[in-house]
């Protein structure tokens, strides 16, 4: 459904879309892992958004609309350029999970202390290594702080899918972070 705008299109665009730039940049940075790439991705997203702004229905969720444009732009352009994340074998993650379960259940509070020792970069690297669909939900939920419903709207999928991906993504991250912590000697083997 299209909407014709009265007045100046640029002014409307500025009012509706520009204040979401921080959120989009943050997302772009986590998706690309590079500040320059993120800047370019935000720029391409906004240029496209402006070009098609007459198609945006006033009163609907502009941020979700911008996120969808960014995701498509990322898929079409940037994903080809950026390094593919390493392949995750989820079965391996489950096996790992089963192995650490007995001892960790009793000392669950220790996990936080173990992860506290990790560096910011190590956590960022672990997130970057997730498959794209999983990385997206983690960024949107745990960094940007959106609800499942908002995320579902952004990535155009059911809420159940968001929940499932988020659950698996965190388990993958847990395995990855546990490995990092182990390699740094924070975990007793």
């Amino acid at each position: 459904m299209t909407k014709n705008y009265d007045g100046d299109l640029y002014a409307d665009f500025e009012r509706e879309a520009v204040h979401h730039m921080d959120a989009l940049f943050n997302f772009a940075l986590r998706m690309t892992g590079d500040s320059d790439e993120a800047s370019d991705l935000v720029q391409d997203t906004y240029m496209r958004a402006f070009r098609f702004f007459d198609k945006f229905e006033k009163g609907t969720n502009c941020k979700a609309w911008l996120f969808r444009i960014m995701k498509n732009t990322y898929i079409n352009t940037y994903r080809k350029k950026t390094k593919e994340p390493e392949k995750f074998d989820y079965e391996e993650v489950e096996n790992f999970y089963e192995n650490v379960k007995p001892s960790s259940t009793e000392d669950a509070h220790l996990e936080k202390e173990i992860f506290d020792n990790l560096l910011d970069d190590q956590v960022a690297t672990a997130i970057s290594s997730l498959p794209e669909d999983f990385r997206t939900v983690v960024i949107l939920a745990d960094i940007e702080g959106y609800t499942y419903e908002e995320i579902a709207d952004f990535i155009d999928c059911p809420v159940g899918t968001v929940r499932s991906r988020l659950h698996r993504a965190r388990k993958m991250l847990y395995a990855k972070l546990y490995d990092y912590a182990g390699s740094k000697g924070y975990v007793k083997n």
Binding site: G7, D8, L9, Y10, F13, E14, V18, M21, D22, L24, F25, N26, L29, R30, S39, V42, Q43, Y46, M47, F50, Y97, K101, S104, T105, A108, H109, E111, K112, F115, D116, L118, L119, D120, Q122, V123, A124, I127, V138, A141, D142, I143, E144, T147, Y148, R163, S164, L166, H167, R170, K171, L173, Y174, L177
Partner: protein, 280 residues
């Protein structure tokens, strides 16, 4: 005791419990109960919560740098206005009263008729023909910043802009000097009853703009089309650069060959000095 078939479903719901996304109070109570009695479910909860907390603590929210914001807005604005110009050209040609006598009036109305809706015309500040060259340049630059004025031709290519000036009948050569790190956004030829004047706009990667209004010096002397304070004119004619900071803008006036140019930026005039003084 959870049946294995349901364990995966419960495990996923635990993620939602951690995120406070379980709205159904009965389901919420059921999950809390399982968390307390089932070691596997408890583990799920601890893992989900630990990872979520770690990410929140370790991944700082990165704001878009202001330079990037400025660059994006500038690109959108210049592209938008250039597009509007194209679509408004026909209606402009039907408005003969746009050709007012004073150059600034002509210059601004030229853009306004071309780039904005006619409803905006009455909201324009009245610009007197007695406004001096430096004030004209600053007014034009303010209009560019507020997206009321934009290039008639959008191009970063020097030769394209030179050809544009030629095609528009400019009777003097613009000295096209593009400092390193800057690029042309586009250009304009304004028309005051047949007298043509050249204007160019440049940008850098940080979102800063430079506007140059350059004219043959004869327009200050022979037919007094333009006016500039005598003291400033003497300074400029002696080969010096006149600079001033005003309203978050910097202006520089100097001579380049037989031309006099007013250069305005949304930065300090020191910046202009380093870029344009000595480049004659």
């Amino acid at each position: 005791m959870i049946h294995d078939k349901n364990r995966q479903e419960y495990a996923e719901l635990i993620a939602a419990l951690v995120d406070n996304e379980i709205k159904d109070s009965r389901l919420r109570a059921e999950l809390e109960g399982l968390k307390a009695t089932d070691s596997g479910i408890k583990m799920e909860f601890e893992v989900q919560a630990a990872v979520k907390t770690t990410i929140k603590q370790k991944c700082r929210y990165a704001r878009c740098p202001s330079a990037v914001k400025n660059r994006i807005l500038l690109d959108i604005r210049t592209g938008h206005l250039a597009e509007k110009r194209t679509t408004k050209t026909e209606s402009f040609s039907l408005r003969p009263y746009a050709y007012a006598a004073a150059i600034v009036v002509v210059f601004i109305t030229l853009f306004i008729f071309k780039y904005t809706d006619s409803a905006n015309i009455s909201s324009l500040p009245v610009v007197e023909s007695s406004v001096t060259f430096d004030k004209m340049a600053m007014n034009n630059f303010k209009a560019i910043l507020s997206a009321k004025l934009a290039p008639q031709i959008a191009s970063s290519d020097t030769n394209t802009i030179k050809s544009f000036f030629l095609s528009k009948g400019l009777d003097y050569d613009m000295h096209m000097i593009c400092p390193s790190g800057w690029e042309y956004v586009g250009a304009v030829v304004s028309d005051d009853n047949g007298k043509k004047f050249g204007h160019v706009v440049l940008k850098d990667s940080q979102g800063k703009l430079i506007y140059i209004f350059e004219v043959d010096k004869k327009y200050f002397t022979n037919d007094k089309k333009l006016d500039l304070d005598n003291q400033i004119m003497s300074q400029v004619m002696s080969g010096s650069c006149y600079t001033q900071d005003q309203d978050d803008m910097g202006i520089l006036i100097n001579k380049t060959g037989d031309n006099v140019r007013a250069i305005v930026t949304n930065d300090k005039c020191e910046k202009l000095k380093s870029l344009f003084c000595g480049l004659q």
